[in-house]
């Protein structure tokens, strides 16, 4: 139905080209109340060895995008158009048998709730060893050895003994380390992370983020990191894509976007979250609530909540326009953000 978003050329040019490229992806969910356009023309590029943060409120389509990349969409959700190019191969038309050969050695995923993602009746060591045995043809002994080495690498103390433990014997942070070890087991090129630290305490979140950053540096794996927590993205990622109503509304290098947001939604997100470093008199919430994805607002989907909205925002669907510095915004009046920032006289 809606495909107003034209293809944009590469935003971030890496020497070897992006390892993962999502092009104009559409995911729809058929419900009794109508078709939900959960992901509506999303394009992302993931450069080799770098981390891309995907940020948005619940219902913005960020998790659905991630699941579509891996081909594990729930129930009625279907990819209706678009491409997911991994090393130039489109994953969308592939049958699940071929996808199974890619999930693990090339693409891996870390889920938010490790307890529900791990097998509760299988020793964690064997859960880690399973991938290398299935995909890399390792013998049991060799795979077990690799599992112990991986457990050590992700910071699980006493890995030889903990190999034989069950998930329930681990704390939340340790379970997430097990998930990371499973994801790393077959040396994937891209790891998709679906809010991996949201369920954890700050201290443990800090440990896991540092671990992921170190693994990224060491092994050159790329990350797609979905979260609603902006500072987490600032810590870990080089690139940022902000999603709203199933679409990407802004993207660019993380710190440029945070310093000078070019979309009122990004600006709103930054203004509404309390920051430890900076105490503001009052937080500025974004008025209204997220749009219905069955019958989204006309024109720009953010216009009913937007402080800059003008008449044309209701009629014109803003394309994701390229700006200088590898950035892009889907706002017709993005200059207004600069005006606000200047008026505040505080550019972070």
């Amino acid at each position: 139905m809606s495909g107003p978003r034209a293809e944009e050329p590469a935003v971030t040019g890496s020497a070897t080209g992006p390892v993962l490229e999502v092009k104009d992806l559409h995911v729809q969910i058929a419900t009794r109340r109508g078709v939900v356009h959960a992901v509506d023309g999303v394009s992302i590029e993931v450069p080799r060895g770098e981390a891309v943060g995907l940020v948005g409120e619940s219902g913005s389509g960020k998790s659905m995008t991630l699941r579509a990349i891996l081909g594990v969409l729930p129930g009625e959700a279907k990819i209706t158009s678009g491409q997911v190019l991994l090393d130039g191969t489109d994953l969308v038309p592939l049958p699940s048998s071929s996808l199974n050969r890619i999930r693990g050695p090339k693409l891996a995923m870390i889920f938010q709730e490790p307890m529900s993602a791990l097998n509760p009746v299988m020793r964690v060591g064997w859960q880690i060893a399973e991938g290398p045995m299935v995909h890399l043809g390792f013998s049991r002994a060799k795979a077990a050895e690799r599992a112990v080495e991986l457990m050590r690498r992700v910071g699980i103390p006493d890995p030889e003994r903990r190999f034989r433990a069950f998930p329930h014997e681990f704390s939340g942070g340790m379970r997430q380390r097990v998930m990371i070890a499973i994801a790393l087991a077959c040396d994937p090129e891209v790891i998709l992370c679906d809010e991996p630290t949201t369920a954890l305490d700050v201290t443990i979140q800090d440990q896991i983020l540092r671990l992921l950053a170190r693994l990224c540096r060491e092994s050159g794996v790329s990350l797609v990191f979905v979260t609603h927590d902006l500072p987490v993205v600032a810590q870990l990622c080089q690139h940022l894509a902000v999603m709203y109503g199933g679409q990407i509304v802004e993207r660019g290098p993380v710190h440029d976007v945070f310093a000078r947001p070019q979309h009122p939604y990004t600006l709103g997100l930054l203004r509404s979250a309390p920051d430890v470093e900076e105490i503001r008199d009052s937080l500025v919430p974004i008025p209204g609530s997220p749009p219905s994805l069955i019958s989204p607002p006309s024109g720009c989907r953010f216009h009913p909540r937007c402080q800059f909205a003008e008449d044309d925002c209701q009629t014109t669907v803003p394309p994701l326009r390229l700006l200088a510095g590898g950035r892009a915004t889907a706002c017709l009046h993005h200059e207004r953000c600069d005006e606000v920032l200047e008026a505040e006289g505080a550019t972070r």
Partner: protein, 396 residues
Amino acid sequence: MSEPVMPEKGVGEVGGLPPAEAVASDAPVPLADFVAVKGAGEVGGDAPPGPLLVATGVSVGFPVMSPIAARIRHEERILRAVDGVDLTIERGEALALVGESGSGKSTLARALTGLVPLDSGEVKLDGKALGKRRSKADQRRVQMVFQDPYSSLNPRLTVAGILHELLNVHRVVPRSEVAAFSKELIGLVGLTEDALPAYPRQFSGGQRQRVAIARALALRPELLVADEPVSALDVSVQATILNLLQELRSTLGLTLLLISHNLAVVRHLCDRVAVMYLGRIIEVAPTAELYANPAHPYTRGLLAAIPRMTPMSEDAPAVIGDPPSPLRIPSGCRFRTRCPIAQDICAREDPALTTAPGSTGHQAACHFAFGPVPPAAPDTDPDAESATPAPAAGSS
């Protein structure tokens, strides 16, 4: 569907009970008076000056073995979620309780609200000790807002039903004014009258939390306990609830106890912060003081662990390892298994909460809190209790 459908008139039936508590002090109060009454802090009669709530030596434990297993093994294992906590809440202040999950902050909040019984210790409200079973009048004075507005509201009652039931049971206002008072309450939390005939499922998370706050305010509490009121909400909605809490504080003169793991939220909203670790309060200080000069190594780690808007350094994590199990609390200082500056004395002696010299209101429970900090060199006592497997990612 298996449950019997609760008739909406249920609300009215409850009112059939004999008036248990005196209604005397609760004359019909329109909003203006509502505010005035709160501001003057007169709800409990002539309130003495001094702190609103004083908790001394509060302990709460939960048996973790089945009673049969306990009898067979001749032992009873108690998980001491809160272990001898002293806490003072001044009238009109906003106090934050922060800590990791399992630190006992929610249990302490529930104990202060009267939702879990105390094993030992005492809670005094306005100098009056609250008994094991609180009278309705005392229950009213401390009210709570829960974390998850999706599960804390009765799905079978409309908003009006929820409020009417409460107002009738507690006889906050005469029957004839219940409807009008409900409207005021719902306006107070920024919803319109249209909300009254609606069911919780018809609201978004933020709106539900507003209803939950209205419900807590309905009894005109003096102390509002908010247990992670925004952590189940979306970022853009969190701000509206935080602003609402702040607004209510200034208009109603409410005293607020905010439980949170989010130190950014706390810094924004609270006057004073108490940090909990494994059932104890390990540091209390005015907010600005705590963020500027954290005295306890755990507080320092907690602050350092907050994600900033700047890129992450390649340092080791701020706090290593997981918190030990509350069933196997380390000897001496509870934090020593994860502490970067732990010394011999820390394994032997449990540090008491001491007040900083020259500063009022900054207390910390660390042997080295306000003195010179020993070098961070690893001590000869490498994690005696294996409850915490120590260095993790930072080891390489």
